[in-house]
Amino acid sequence: GAGVSQSPSNKVTEKGKDVELRCDPISGHTALYWYRQSLGQGLEFLIYFQGNSAPDKSGLPSDRFSAERTGGSVSTLTIQRTQQEDSAVYLCASSLNPFAGGTDTQYFGPGTRLTVL
Protein backbone atom coordinates (compact mmCIF):
# COMPACT_ATOMS: atom_id res chain seq x y z
CA GLY A 1 0.00 0.00 0.00
CA ALA A 2 0.94 3.65 -0.11
CA GLY A 3 3.44 4.85 2.43
CA VAL A 4 3.72 8.21 4.14
CA SER A 5 3.79 11.01 1.61
CA GLN A 6 5.07 14.54 1.99
CA SER A 7 4.87 17.66 -0.14
CA PRO A 8 6.60 19.55 -1.48
CA SER A 9 9.76 17.48 -1.83
CA ASN A 10 11.82 20.65 -2.04
CA LYS A 11 11.05 24.19 -0.93
CA VAL A 12 13.23 27.23 -1.39
CA THR A 13 12.08 30.38 0.33
CA GLU A 14 13.37 33.78 1.33
CA LYS A 15 14.14 34.71 4.89
CA GLY A 16 11.07 36.14 6.59
CA LYS A 17 8.50 34.27 4.49
CA ASP A 18 6.07 31.70 5.88
CA VAL A 19 6.09 28.11 4.64
CA GLU A 20 3.71 25.17 4.94
CA LEU A 21 4.82 21.56 4.74
CA ARG A 22 2.31 18.78 4.29
CA CYS A 23 2.24 15.18 5.48
CA ASP A 24 -0.16 12.39 4.50
CA PRO A 25 0.20 9.48 6.92
CA ILE A 26 -0.50 5.85 6.17
CA SER A 27 -4.23 5.20 6.21
CA GLY A 28 -5.37 3.95 9.61
CA HIS A 29 -2.31 5.17 11.49
CA THR A 30 -3.42 7.16 14.49
CA ALA A 31 -0.04 8.56 15.46
CA LEU A 32 1.84 11.20 13.47
CA TYR A 33 5.26 12.67 14.20
CA TRP A 34 7.34 15.48 12.74
CA TYR A 35 11.13 15.44 12.92
CA ARG A 36 13.77 17.60 11.33
CA GLN A 37 17.33 16.92 10.29
CA SER A 38 19.66 19.87 10.14
CA LEU A 39 23.01 19.63 8.37
CA GLY A 40 25.43 17.51 10.37
CA GLN A 41 22.91 16.71 13.08
CA GLY A 42 20.74 13.77 13.87
CA LEU A 43 17.01 13.83 13.49
CA GLU A 44 15.28 15.81 16.22
CA PHE A 45 11.70 15.37 17.34
CA LEU A 46 9.36 18.32 16.81
CA ILE A 47 5.74 17.39 17.52
CA TYR A 48 3.44 14.37 18.00
CA PHE A 49 -0.25 13.91 17.24
CA GLN A 50 -2.39 11.02 18.48
CA GLY A 51 -5.95 10.80 17.21
CA ASN A 52 -7.93 13.83 18.32
CA SER A 53 -5.89 14.44 21.45
CA ALA A 54 -3.92 17.61 22.07
CA PRO A 55 -0.51 17.34 20.41
CA ASP A 56 2.78 17.04 22.27
CA LYS A 57 4.64 20.16 21.13
CA SER A 58 7.64 19.69 23.39
CA GLY A 59 10.13 19.56 20.51
CA LEU A 60 9.14 22.71 18.66
CA PRO A 61 12.18 25.02 18.69
CA SER A 62 10.31 28.33 18.78
CA ASP A 63 6.84 29.85 18.61
CA ARG A 64 7.39 30.42 14.89
CA PHE A 65 6.71 26.71 14.45
CA SER A 66 3.20 25.30 14.61
CA ALA A 67 1.40 22.26 13.30
CA GLU A 68 -2.10 20.99 12.94
CA ARG A 69 -3.70 17.74 12.00
CA THR A 70 -7.11 17.92 10.41
CA GLY A 71 -9.60 15.10 10.78
CA GLY A 72 -7.00 12.87 12.39
CA SER A 73 -5.23 12.42 9.06
CA VAL A 74 -3.30 15.02 7.06
CA SER A 75 -0.92 17.27 8.96
CA THR A 76 0.57 20.64 8.10
CA LEU A 77 3.71 22.04 9.67
CA THR A 78 3.91 25.83 9.41
CA ILE A 79 7.02 27.90 9.91
CA GLN A 80 6.44 31.62 10.17
CA ARG A 81 9.03 34.27 9.40
CA THR A 82 11.57 31.68 8.30
CA GLN A 83 15.21 32.06 9.31
CA GLN A 84 18.29 30.58 7.70
CA GLU A 85 18.73 28.19 10.63
CA ASP A 86 15.36 26.65 9.71
CA SER A 87 17.00 25.11 6.64
CA ALA A 88 16.75 21.36 7.10
CA VAL A 89 15.02 18.22 5.93
CA TYR A 90 11.64 17.89 7.61
CA LEU A 91 10.47 14.31 8.04
CA CYS A 92 7.04 13.05 8.90
CA ALA A 93 6.36 9.61 10.35
CA SER A 94 3.22 7.71 11.25
CA SER A 95 2.55 4.63 13.33
CA LEU A 96 -0.33 2.31 13.99
CA ASN A 97 -0.23 1.76 17.72
CA PRO A 98 1.83 4.28 19.71
CA PHE A 99 0.75 2.64 22.97
CA ALA A 100 2.65 -0.52 22.03
CA GLY A 101 5.96 1.01 23.05
CA GLY A 102 8.97 -0.76 21.63
CA THR A 103 6.90 -2.90 19.29
CA ASP A 104 5.37 0.06 17.48
CA THR A 105 7.04 1.03 14.20
CA GLN A 106 7.29 4.55 12.87
CA TYR A 107 7.14 4.71 9.07
CA PHE A 108 8.85 7.71 7.58
CA GLY A 109 8.01 9.81 4.58
CA PRO A 110 10.56 10.95 2.00
CA GLY A 111 10.95 14.34 3.63
CA THR A 112 10.76 17.96 2.53
CA ARG A 113 14.07 19.74 2.00
CA LEU A 114 13.64 23.35 3.08
CA THR A 115 16.19 25.96 2.07
CA VAL A 116 15.91 29.45 3.48
CA LEU A 117 17.93 32.00 1.53
Partner: protein, 112 residues
Protein backbone atom coordinates in the same frame (compact mmCIF):
# COMPACT_ATOMS: atom_id res chain seq x y z
CA UNK B 1 17.88 13.86 29.23
CA UNK B 2 18.38 11.09 26.74
CA UNK B 3 21.25 11.04 24.28
CA UNK B 4 22.48 8.73 21.53
CA UNK B 5 26.06 8.77 20.32
CA UNK B 6 27.41 7.24 17.13
CA UNK B 7 31.13 7.99 17.18
CA UNK B 8 31.88 7.14 13.56
CA UNK B 9 30.63 9.33 10.72
CA UNK B 10 32.01 6.95 8.12
CA UNK B 11 32.90 3.28 8.25
CA UNK B 12 34.53 1.69 5.26
CA UNK B 13 34.95 -2.10 5.04
CA UNK B 14 35.67 -4.63 2.33
CA UNK B 15 33.04 -7.05 1.11
CA UNK B 16 33.03 -10.16 3.25
CA UNK B 17 34.62 -8.42 6.24
CA UNK B 18 32.83 -8.13 9.59
CA UNK B 19 30.97 -4.94 10.38
CA UNK B 20 30.36 -3.26 13.71
CA UNK B 21 28.55 0.06 13.91
CA UNK B 22 28.85 1.56 17.35
CA UNK B 23 26.03 3.12 19.34
CA UNK B 24 26.07 4.32 22.93
CA UNK B 25 23.15 5.82 24.77
CA UNK B 26 22.46 7.84 27.88
CA UNK B 27 19.09 7.35 29.55
CA UNK B 28 18.00 6.98 33.15
CA UNK B 29 15.06 4.69 32.42
CA UNK B 30 14.72 1.31 30.76
CA UNK B 31 15.86 1.86 27.17
CA UNK B 32 14.10 0.80 24.01
CA UNK B 33 16.53 0.93 21.14
CA UNK B 34 16.31 0.70 17.38
CA UNK B 35 18.48 0.75 14.30
CA UNK B 36 17.14 2.61 11.28
CA UNK B 37 18.72 2.50 7.83
CA UNK B 38 18.53 4.83 4.84
CA UNK B 39 19.68 3.44 1.51
CA UNK B 40 20.62 5.81 -1.28
CA UNK B 41 17.61 7.74 -2.55
CA UNK B 42 15.24 5.83 -0.27
CA UNK B 43 13.40 6.82 2.85
CA UNK B 44 14.42 6.07 6.40
CA UNK B 45 13.24 2.63 7.48
CA UNK B 46 13.40 0.43 10.53
CA UNK B 47 16.10 -2.23 10.42
CA UNK B 48 15.70 -3.86 13.81
CA UNK B 49 14.61 -3.27 17.38
CA UNK B 50 16.25 -4.65 20.49
CA UNK B 51 13.00 -5.95 21.95
CA UNK B 52 12.62 -8.43 19.09
CA UNK B 53 16.10 -9.89 19.43
CA UNK B 54 16.04 -10.92 15.78
CA UNK B 55 18.46 -10.92 12.88
CA UNK B 56 17.48 -8.79 9.89
CA UNK B 57 19.49 -9.00 6.65
CA UNK B 58 22.20 -10.71 8.69
CA UNK B 59 22.45 -7.83 11.17
CA UNK B 60 22.09 -8.27 14.92
CA UNK B 61 22.33 -5.87 17.83
CA UNK B 62 22.60 -6.69 21.50
CA UNK B 63 21.65 -4.29 24.23
CA UNK B 64 24.41 -4.04 26.84
CA UNK B 65 23.04 -2.09 29.77
CA UNK B 66 26.33 -2.20 31.66
CA UNK B 67 28.15 -0.47 28.81
CA UNK B 68 25.03 1.45 27.68
CA UNK B 69 25.65 0.25 24.16
CA UNK B 70 23.63 -1.16 21.28
CA UNK B 71 26.19 -1.91 18.59
CA UNK B 72 25.05 -3.23 15.21
CA UNK B 73 26.96 -6.20 13.84
CA UNK B 74 27.14 -8.32 10.75
CA UNK B 75 29.70 -11.08 10.23
CA UNK B 76 30.13 -10.66 6.47
CA UNK B 77 29.44 -7.32 4.81
CA UNK B 78 27.70 -7.22 1.42
CA UNK B 79 27.82 -4.45 -1.15
CA UNK B 80 24.08 -3.83 -0.69
CA UNK B 81 24.68 -2.99 2.97
CA UNK B 82 26.16 0.35 1.96
CA UNK B 83 23.83 2.94 3.52
CA UNK B 84 23.43 5.43 6.35
CA UNK B 85 22.65 3.79 9.68
CA UNK B 86 21.00 5.56 12.60
CA UNK B 87 20.72 4.33 16.16
CA UNK B 88 17.63 5.58 17.98
CA UNK B 89 16.30 5.56 21.54
CA UNK B 90 12.56 5.61 22.19
CA UNK B 91 11.01 7.43 25.14
CA UNK B 92 7.35 7.82 26.01
CA UNK B 93 5.57 11.05 25.23
CA UNK B 94 2.48 12.58 26.74
CA UNK B 95 -0.45 10.72 25.24
CA UNK B 96 1.46 7.51 24.82
CA UNK B 97 3.53 8.26 21.76
CA UNK B 98 7.15 7.28 21.30
CA UNK B 99 9.69 10.01 20.76
CA UNK B 100 12.75 8.78 18.89
CA UNK B 101 16.09 10.36 19.77
CA UNK B 102 18.54 9.65 16.99
CA UNK B 103 22.29 9.57 16.77
CA UNK B 104 24.01 11.50 14.02
CA UNK B 105 24.36 8.40 11.88
CA UNK B 106 27.18 6.32 10.43
CA UNK B 107 27.69 6.02 6.70
CA UNK B 108 28.68 2.44 5.92
CA UNK B 109 30.58 1.91 2.71
CA UNK B 110 31.25 -1.64 1.58
CA UNK B 111 34.03 -1.82 -0.97
CA UNK B 112 34.66 -4.64 -3.39
Amino acid sequence: AQRVTQPEKLLSVFKGAPVELKCNYSYSGSPELFWYVQYSRQRLQLLLRHISRESIKGFTADLNKGETSFHLKKPFAQEEDSAMYYCALSTILTGGGNKLTFGTGTQLKVEL
